[in-house]
Symmetry: C2
């Protein structure tokens, strides 16, 4: 009997293992430490709603360097090493660099009603994070919480012990720095309202906007209502206001309440353990739409039904599968793909309504995307979508053109139809060109081209390219022109001009091609032969002095650069590596400086400007092994199956895209140049499931004898034919069905 | 020719004079100084909306004793001697003692947009205040403003000069101490929203509630939107918030905005003088109802049409006309009647919706009243309505019973379906009894009686009669019982018990009658033979010491009394004047003390407890002339045709009711005792237009040879028969058609 049981157990274990799907490898906790800024919450692919634990608000007294939201610049609702849980948020950004959203926070408690999060917060254990699912156990209250989500709605579930139980919806607390909310009970089990958000990265305060919600509990509470804690009144009248600044409980209040610090409460008294479910729908258009989103996406479905469906959706969404490699390698790979499917996310409601950019109108579109962090994503992320999710990439490009039509300008860092003007450059042009040149042409290229030219050629009042007048005149932005980071911004404009030149060529616009192609290399005027770096320069041509190449890393203010220093920007010229080699005085000094950057730890894996550096060795004949070595080292060092398993800010999929390519064996080295360069893959088999509508050759299989030792490329075979180059055009990759790498230890 | 013109001018002047209607005598500026607390704004009879100039918010730097809303306890949106106008409010209380409402403030300006009222405020001239109409001229902007109103909606009109013109709707500024608002543009000419109000007299903060509005301009503005000035953010992140605390202009923003300091702006640029009209509807139920109120009451009517109709409504509402007397006398009389028709006001929307008390439900009633300041109004005001506006009085009584049914208790100081628990006593019982005993019996007397008994007999957790347990036990509230003003509160409970006793008798409830009739005189236990005053007493029977009868006037804290001192309360025993005479040791000492109160200036004309004192001489045979003298003196001293022409707080019609009776020649001396006592009238003919449905005898005409000298009654004739008493029952007065006073100089 005992033996039989053992066999049975073994069989169950084996069969479970056999049933392990790609989705089951996803570990949403990756990136939740080390400022990865992802959150471990429940979300559906490209979901507008997500339900994340919120643990960044606590009393910081006596805490050294707290990761508390208001005590520093902190951009995520959850930090893995924090311990004080104050609820589950319903709208969140993941992997961004500025605090925003993180609102509509549900919190279960027991005992007396307490609405101050500093008092009601709890430590927790038994944290479970899966694709579309999050759970923990609140030690203070002995409550198990669970969350799952659809695109625009979510369910949380609370396992209350016997006794007094409270469910709070806190509209005061939030990650955003915006304040102000409204709520109204429409029945004893349903509350509707809104919360003001906006000013992402401390920009565009005048565009702050509401996120609407409808929330329903599945059990009538004997006591429910609204709490409101007003600001403390100052002045003469305060003496008569015995209630000054105190929380008011508006029991069963059924009209609107507004305020900076308000919330809804449901108070139960259970004579046994009970489960309460809270269903929430959101919308950026209206309360009515939030209600419709909730009804259409969840309706009467149970928590388990919703989770099962979302899990399946996630599994289907993972269009790459891997074989070989360790479980940890699979985990970081699938989680990277998961993270790449968070943002951009849908903005439209189920009925197609979405807030337009600038117009204040409601547009209609059943696939309106948002969260375009384009300074980050133009480098590798959109190329990944073009390959694996072409229909999504096309729809994102169309969204970008709609934004242009609505607001008059292409997006730069777009969030919920507001332009936040975060970071520099003209990245949208690069994405449009890259997408078109890689063969996704089913969008309005004429409008796209018009938009690119407008951004490039509007000399005054140009929100996309400030300083562009001087840029066209001098070829660079001077330190005198008032534009932040004149060197790096010059490089960004060059990269965009290169992209515009390529698309002009494709469209047969010869004069434009020549103009932009010439300008695309104007960064060379900033090359300082003395330091072999790009150096800030005055309008009169004099070099800026004194010049310290090291300054500017880690967000330090720097006269020439934005988010980075001269080392991290000098080789950000992937469209002109040969030109840079020439400037450096040949391949040797180029290689030497590249080695120096890595050896002296000037390379920042977490920062976008130098993200392609490891692949630059592929431009040096005979040195390609260094690309393979560096990429392998960087993956091993920075990408791991643990909360701190991202090198830093995920940047809406860019770090994950870098990892996916690095593990798959190729990288889209030059934005707007439809090619890739190779490195060694990390799995014995990688299947890229390509949409046959756009990729008639179907799936691309990458095979190899990858192992921890076998990291160097010996031979490459494409569709069984030897391939001699370390570069491949997108067209060739598109037609290929199989790439085989022969790898070795040296 | 010249002569002809003169004749024509004369003719016009005469004919205009001939056309002068009662309504034209109304001077809404009366009471707007000397803390009368009325406002001069446009309002319809018992209107839910009123449009008052708002001039109580200004920079107080260097201003001695400013009448500024936040620098002191100030309960009105307008003070006549103030000079700094910051807009026209759309919901206001008139003649109350606490700051509340005074919100939804429209303000026209010219030039650059400025949304800070301290900067955009203006001095003004050419103030015109009429029944249903207000106008002034803003000296800073050369803008004429005008306002008129219906019951639940209003129009303001702005005569802008050529150039830049702005129309603001400020939802931040307000008289109320509540904050928080929401607004949303629904079209370029229409904005909807709400403003939180509540906590009248610094009570019941948990009941704070929204007032909703819809506002429409009649001209599309080329620029419009929402402004929002957030609170200044404190802490680490403030360093990145370059916009910290600064006003944001949300141009054409079409979603909801919430905040403490928000408003809507319309910006015009006129190439000639232009008039802009702003139509506003309000509701305490919903935005939809506010819109319906606006549509149904104003719709497409013009300003002039609305004003003409409201003026006519006012004229029709004045159910007393006077002849003889000076224009000033007519003015104070008609204005008193006008003020008596402000509160209680309607609360229900045109569709009958109103917020119920306590239940959080929406009730249905086409005549739901609100603003019941019953500690004030039980004394004389509701008696006036019973006589002149019986159908309104009945509906108010029915509203009071509905409040009882909704909330479980009769109202005490009800405001917009919230009980504010302002002042003391059980005044609703007195109003119910008085109304019934004066013959208005068409209400549910059984429920009324049940409600009275509940208030009187509930010994624990009784919000209406705190301390009632001790009161029944000892006959008085002791200084040890924790109830504020134990002496005055004992007197109030006595007055209510007297009322309950009378109604019990009427209903044949003998035991109740005996119980309450006995208790109604229990104040006598507080009569201190030493001082001949009512004196605070300990539970053990000992007198409270030291005892200073003077303390307690002018809101000074006093151990025995609420709002008044021992002198102002001692004779507040109109149901037991004979008992008090006995306690005092006879008519002589009673008279001597009454004289002393007047002579030593202890009599406070502005305070309710002693409001009937002048009529007490009528209880002293041969001394009735003193009543006539005192009333005449008090009218002359305190009631005048000027802003300071009320003795103090109007108290929602009580001062005006006192004046109307005083000028008409009779007074309802004892609440819940259906009788009156006489004094000399001030006009040669006063016609009281009585509703024949309730007063089959029709109009009551009061004739006399009144003059400034003829103030003493020589003879009284009722329906031409000599009448010997200075008292008359309500029944006799009801049946009378004419009362004629023969007056003399002595």
């Amino acid at each position: 009997m005992k033996k039989l049981l053992s066999f049975a157990t073994l069989w169950v274990a084996l069969s479970l293992h056999a049933q392990q799907q790609p989705v089951d490898y996803i570990n949403p906790l990756i990136g939740t430490s080390n400022f990865g800024a992802t959150h471990p919450g429940a979300i559906a692919p490209r979901g507008m709603l997500s339900i994340s634990p919120f643990n960044v608000a606590f009393d910081t007294t006596g805490v050294k360097a707290p990761l508390e939201k208001d005590s520093r610049w902190l951009s995520n609702p959850y930090v893995n090493e924090n311990k004080f849980f104050t609820g589950l948020t319903h709208v969140n950004l993941s992997g961004v660099g500025c605090p925003e959203l993180g609102v509509i926070i549900a919190m279960p408690t027991t005992g007396k009603l307490e609405v101050n999060h500093l008092k009601y917060g709890s430590t927790y254990q038994k944290e479970v994070a899966k694709a579309g699912y999050y759970s923990n156990f609140l030690t203070k209250y002995h409550i198990k919480t669970e969350a799952t989500a659809t695109t625009r709605a979510g369910i949380t579930r609370y396992h209350f012990p016997k006794g007094e139980a409270n469910l709070l919806i806190n509209l005061g607390l939030g990650l955003t720095n915006e304040k102000g909310a409204m709520l109204k009970f429409v029945s004893p089990t349903e509350v509707e309202g809104m919360r003001m958000v906006g000013t992402f990265c401390y920009n565009s305060p005048e565009l702050a906007y509401p996120v609407y919600f409808v929330a329903k509990v599945n059990k009538v509470a004997p006591s429910y209502g609204v709490w409101h804690t007003p600001e403390k009144h100052q002045g003469v009248e305060a003496q008569w206001m015995w209630y000054n600044g105190e929380t008011r409980l508006k029991e069963q209040f059924a009209r609107e309440v507004v305020g900076d610090s308000i919330g809804a409460y449901f108070r139960y008294k259970f004579d046994k353990e009970e489960v309460v479910e809270l269903k929430v729908g959101i919308s950026y258009v209206s309360i009515a739409n939030a209600r419709e989103n909730l009804e259409k996406e969840i309706g009467n479905r149970t928590f388990d039904e919703v989770y099962a469906a979302t899990r399946q959706t996630w599994n289907d969404a993972l269009r790459a599968t891997v074989e070989g490699g360790t479980d940890d390698q699979k985990t970081i790979f699938y989680t990277a793909l998961y993270h790449a499917l968070i943002h951009p996310n849908l903005l439209n409601d189920v009925n197609g309504d979405y807030p337009e950019s600038k117009t204040n109108k409601i547009g209609k579109n059943h696939q309106r995307y948002t969260v375009f962090s384009l300074w980050d994503t133009y480098r590798n992320y959109h190329q990944l979508l073009t390959l694996l999710y072409p229909e999504q990439q096309l729809q994102m490009v169309r969204t970008m053109l709609d934004i242009y039509k609505e607001s008059g300008w292409l997006p730069k860092w777009e969030l919920n139809s507001t332009e936040t003007f975060t970071m520099v450059g003209d990245p949208a042009s690069i994405v449009l060109a890259d997408t078109y040149l890689r063969g996704l042409t089913d969008f309005d290229i004429q409008t796209a081209y018009e938009a690119m030219l407008k951004g490039a050629n509007t000399l005054e009042n140009n929100p996309i390219r400030p300083g562009v007048k001087e840029y066209w005149k001098l070829g660079y932005l001077s330190v005198d022109g008032g534009v932040r980071g004149p060197v790096s911004t010059t490089q960004e404009y060059n990269a965009a001009d290169f992209a515009i030149a390529q698309i002009a060529k494709k469209l047969g616009k010869k004069a434009d091609y020549e103009k932009f192609n010439k300008q695309a290399y104007s960064y060379r005027k900033l090359f300082d032969k003395e330091t072999h770096l790009l150096r800030p320069r005055h309008a009169n041509g004099k070099w800026y002095a004194p010049f310290n190449p090291e300054s500017g890393a880690n967000f330090e203010e720097n006269v020439g650069y934005i988010e980075g220093n001269a080392w991290q920007y000098v080789y950000m010229v992937t469209h002109d590596v040969k030109g840079m080699i020439k400037l450096m005085g040949g391949e040797k000094p180029f290689e030497k400086q590249l080695d120096h950057i890595f050896d002296s730890k000037q390379y920042d894996m977490a920062n976008e400007p130098d993200i392609a550096y490891p692949y630059l060795y592929n431009f040096l004949k005979g040195k390609e092994w260094k690309t393979q070595q560096k990429v392998d080292q960087l993956i091993n060092e920075y990408f791991q199956n643990k909360p701190a398993g991202l090198p830093g800010n995920e940047d809406t999929g860019v770090m994950s895209a870098w990892l996916i390519y690095g593990m798959a064996g190729f990288y889209p080295i030059t934005p707007a140049e439809p090619n890739y360069t190779f490195t060694s893959p990390k799995f014995t088999k990688i299947t890229l499931k390509r949409n046959p509508q756009y990729y008639p050759a179907g799936d691309l299989v990458i095979e190899s004898n990858a192992s921890p030792e076998n990291i160097y490329i010996k031979n490459i075979f494409i569709d069984n034919k030897p391939y001699k180059s370390y570069f491949i055009s997108h067209e060739a990759l598109k037609n290929a069905k199989k790439i085989r790498f022969e790898l070795g230890k040296r």
